[in-house]
C-alpha cells in the first residue's frame, strides 16, 4: 500500500515538523514575556 519512497518522505515530514515546532518553542521560551 505504501511504497518505500513514500515511507521515507513520511519520516522526513514528521522530522521536519518536530524541528519546526521545536524552533517555535525555543523562540517563545527565549523571547516571550
Amino acid at each position: 500500500m505504501m511504497s518505500g519512497r513514500f515511507r521515507r518522505i513520511l519520516l522526513r515530514v514528521v522530522g521536519i515538523q518536530v524541528v519546526a515546532l521545536a524552533l517555535l518553542w525555543i523562540l517563545q521560551a527565549r523571547y516571550h514575556g
Binding site: 500500500m1 505504501m2 511504497s3 519512497r5 513514500f6 518522505i9 513520511l10 522526513r12 515530514v13 514528521v14 521536519i16 515538523q17 519546526a20 515546532l21 517555535l24 518553542w25 523562540l27 517563545q28 527565549r30 523571547y31 516571550h32 514575556g33
Partner: protein, 557 residues
C-alpha cells in the same frame, strides 16, 4: 509609486499572461485541458497546491496580523501535516483509482447522483463567491493605496488571470503557480533582509522587543472550542479543516489529479506538509519585524490612506491634535525601545522593558482614538490591519523592491483565482453539463464549453469583487454558509470509505450535518468555525451509518 516599480509590475503581468497562453500543448481534449493528461511532476503540482492556498490575503492580511497579533495564528496550521499524511494513504489512491475529473464524480460512482450533484452545487456556490472575495481583498487595498477606482483594481488582477486560465487550462494554471510561488518567496525573503539591515537594533534585540509585547507567543495549550488560535483547535479541528480543503475541495483535488502517478500526487501534498508551517511562520515573522521596525521609525497614525484623507477633510483639527499626541508618544516609545535593546544586565532590561510596555500602550491608545475618529467620519470598519504591509512596502522599501512585492501580491491573488476558475469550470462541465445535459458530446464541444464557463466564472468573480462592499452581508452569509457544509462534505467522503454504506444515507447524512452545524452556529455562536468541520463530519458519519444500517435492515425484510 516610482516608474521602475510600475515597469516591474507590468513586466510580471505581461510575462504571466504570455507564458500561460503559450501552454496550450496537449489541451485539445478535455483530459489535457482539465488534468494535463495526468502527466505533471510532483514538485510542480506541490508548488501549485501551495500557491493555490496562499492568496493575496496571506501577503497583506497575515503579515498585518503578525504585526498586530504576533505568531499565534500559526497554530491553525498544526493539523496540516497530519491531514496530508492521512489523505496520502486514503483519499488520494481512491480518487486516482476512480480516474475521475472531479472529487464529486467519485461520489456518484460510490453513492448516487443526488449526493454528487448536491456536493458539486455547494462547491460552485461557495467557490464562486470566495473567488470574488479573493479578488476583492487586494483590489480594495490597491484602490485605497493608489487611488484607483475599484473596478480598475479588480480588472488589473482578474482579467489577465481569466485570459491565461481560459486559454491554457490546468497546464497554464500549474506552471504559472510555480513561478508565482517562487516570486512570492523571493519577495518575502527580500523584505526580511531589508528589515534586518535597516533596523537600528540586532535581530536578537528586535526579537526581545517583539517578545515583550507578546508577539512571539506561539503556543496556547488551553482546550476550548471558543478559541480559534490554540494548539488543540489547530491540531484537532485544523486537521478536519485541512482534510476538507485538500481532500474534497475541487480547487485542490484538481491539482493532485494532474500528477503523473499516485506516488507523485502524495509527494505533491507532502510538499505542503514540509513547508507550510515554515512558510507561514516566515509570513508572520515579516509582520512581527515590521512592528519592531516601526518602533524606531514613525508609522502613519492611520494605515488606510483613504480613511486618513477622509478624516483630514472632515475633522482636520481633531486629527492634527491626535497626530501631535501620537508624535510625542512615538518619541518616548522609541527611546524606551532603544533602552530595552541596549540594557546591559537583566535588572536593567526588565526595568526598560516595563517602561517600553507603558509607552507602547500610550501609542496604541492614541491609535485607538484615531481609528474611532475614522469610523465616525467614514462609517466604515476602521480596522486597518490589511494596510500595514502595503504602506510599509511603499514608503520604506527601496525602489524596485516595492514593485517586486506588489507584483508578488498580485501573483498570490492570481495563483488562487486561476486554480479556482479552472476547478469551477471543471465542476460545471463535468458534474452538471456533461452529467445532466449533453452526456455524449465530442471533446471539442466540452472544451469550448469549458472555456466559456471559465470566462463566465471569471466575470462572475470580478462582478462579486466589484460589488463586494455593497454585497457585504450576502458574502458574509455565503462564507458563513460555506463553513456550514465544509465539514459535512468531508463526512460524505469519510462515509464513502466505510464498506456497505448507502447513497441515501450519505445524502441525508449530508443534509443532517449541515443542519447540525447551522444549529450550533446560531445557538452557540461562541463556538469557533474551526470546530464546525469536526461537528459536520461527525454528524454525517453518524447519521449516514445509522441510515445505511436501517436501509439494509429494511431491504432484508
Amino acid at each position: 509609486m516610482h516608474p521602475v516599480n510600475w515597469v516591474i509590475i507590468l513586466a510580471y503581468l505581461a510575462y504571466v499572461v504570455t507564458d500561460g497562453v503559450r501552454r496550450t500543448k496537449g489541451t485539445k481534449e478535455i483530459e489535457g485541458y482539465f488534468l494535463a493528461n495526468r502527466s505533471l511532476p510532483w514538485w510542480a503540482v506541490g508548488l501549485s497546491v501551495m500557491a493555490t492556498q496562499l492568496s493575496a490575503v496571506t501577503l497583506i492580511g497575515t503579515t498585518g496580523q503578525g504585526a498586530t497579533d504576533g505568531l499565534r495564528f500559526i497554530q491553525i496550521y498544526f493539523g496540516l501535516p497530519v491531514a496530508m499524511v492521512i489523505l496520502g494513504v486514503t483519499l488520494i489512491p481512491l480518487l486516482r483509482k476512480a480516474r475521475v475529473y472531479t472529487a464529486y464524480e467519485y461520489l456518484e460512482q460510490r453513492f448516487n447522483a443526488p449526493t454528487r450533484s448536491l456536493c458539486a452545487f455547494l462547491f460552485l456556490l461557495s467557490r464562486g463567491m470566495s473567488c470574488g472575495v479573493i479578488i476583492s481583498a487586494p483590489a480594495v487595498v490597491f484602490s485605497a493605496i493608489f487611488g484607483w477606482s475599484l473596478p480598475w483594481s479588480v480588472a488589473l488582477i482578474g482579467i489577465p488571470t481569466v485570459i491565461y486560465t481560459m486559454i491554457g487550462g490546468v497546464q497554464a494554471v500549474t506552471w504559472a503557480d510555480v513561478k508565482q510561488m517562487v516570486l512570492i518567496v523571493v519577495a518575502l525573503l527580500a523584505v526580511i533582509l531589508v528589515l534586518l539591515v535597516r533596523m537600528p537594533v540586532s535581530p536578537d534585540e528586535a526579537l526581545h522587543i517583539a517578545g515583550a509585547t507578546g508577539r512571539l507567543k506561539v503556543f496556547d495549550f488551553s482546550f476550548t472550542v471558543t478559541e480559534t488560535y490554540t494548539f488543540w483547535s489547530g491540531l484537532i479541528a485544523g486537521t478536519f479543516l485541512m482534510l476538507s480543503y485538500f481532500g474534497t475541495d475541487q480547487s485542490q483535488v484538481q491539482r493532485h489529479l494532474t500528477a503523473k502517478s499516485t506516488d507523485a500526487a502524495r509527494s505533491s501534498l507532502l510538499l505542503s506538509a514540509y513547508w507550510k508551517i515554515p512558510l507561514q511562520a516566515l509570513v508572520l515573522l515579516v509582520g512581527v519585524l515590521v512592528f519592531v521596525y516601526y518602533q524606531f521609525s514613525a508609522p502613519p497614525l492611520l494605515y488606510n490612506p483613504a480613511h486618513e484623507n477622509a478624516v483630514l477633510q472632515d475633522r482636520a483639527q481633531d486629527y492634527e491634535l491626535l497626530q501631535d499626541r501620537f508624535g510625542r508618544a512615538l518619541v518616548l516609545r522609541d527611546a524606551a525601545a532603544r533602552r530595552t535593546a541596549g540594557a546591559l544586565d537583566d535588572a536593567a532590561a526588565r526595568a526598560a522593558m516595563d517602561d517600553f510596555l507603558v509607552r507602547e500602550a500610550s501609542v496604541q491608545e492614541v491609535r485607538r482614538q484615531a481609528l474611532a475618529l475614522a469610523e465616525e467620519v467614514t462609517g466604515e470598519s476602521p480596522l486597518d490591519v490589511n494596510y500595514i504591509m502595503p504602506r510599509f512596502v511603499l514608503s520604506e522599501l527601496p525602489i524596485g523592491l516595492s514593485g517586486l512585492f506588489i507584483a508578488a501580491v498580485i501573483a498570490a491573488a492570481m495563483s488562487s483565482i486561476s486554480s479556482e476558475l479552472n476547478s469551477l469550470s471543471t465542476a460545471t462541465v463535468v458534474d452538471f453539463y456533461r452529467r445532466w445535459f449533453r452526456p455524449r458530446a465530442s471533446d471539442a464541444h466540452y472544451l469550448s464549453v469549458a472555456k466559456y464557463t471559465t470566462c463566465f466564472w471569471g466575470l462572475f468573480a470580478c462582478g462579486v469583487a466589484t460589488y463586494a462592499a455593497s454585497l457585504g452581508s450576502l458574502i458574509e452569509v455565503v462564507n458563513r454558509y460555506g463553513s456550514f457544509f465544509y465539514g459535512s462534505i468531508l463526512g460524505v467522503f469519510l462515509l464513502a470509505m466505510v464498506p456497505r454504506t448507502r447513497g441515501w444515507g450519505a445524502f441525508f447524512g449530508l443534509c443532517a450535518g449541515m443542519a447540525t452545524v447551522a444549529i450550533v452556529a446560531f445557538r452557540a455562536p461562541s463556538v469557533t468555525y474551526l470546530w464546525y468541520n469536526v461537528i459536520g463530519a461527525s454528524t454525517v458519519l453518524g447519521v449516514g451509518l445509522l441510515l445505511s444500517w436501517a436501509g439494509r435492515g429494511l431491504a432484508r425484510r
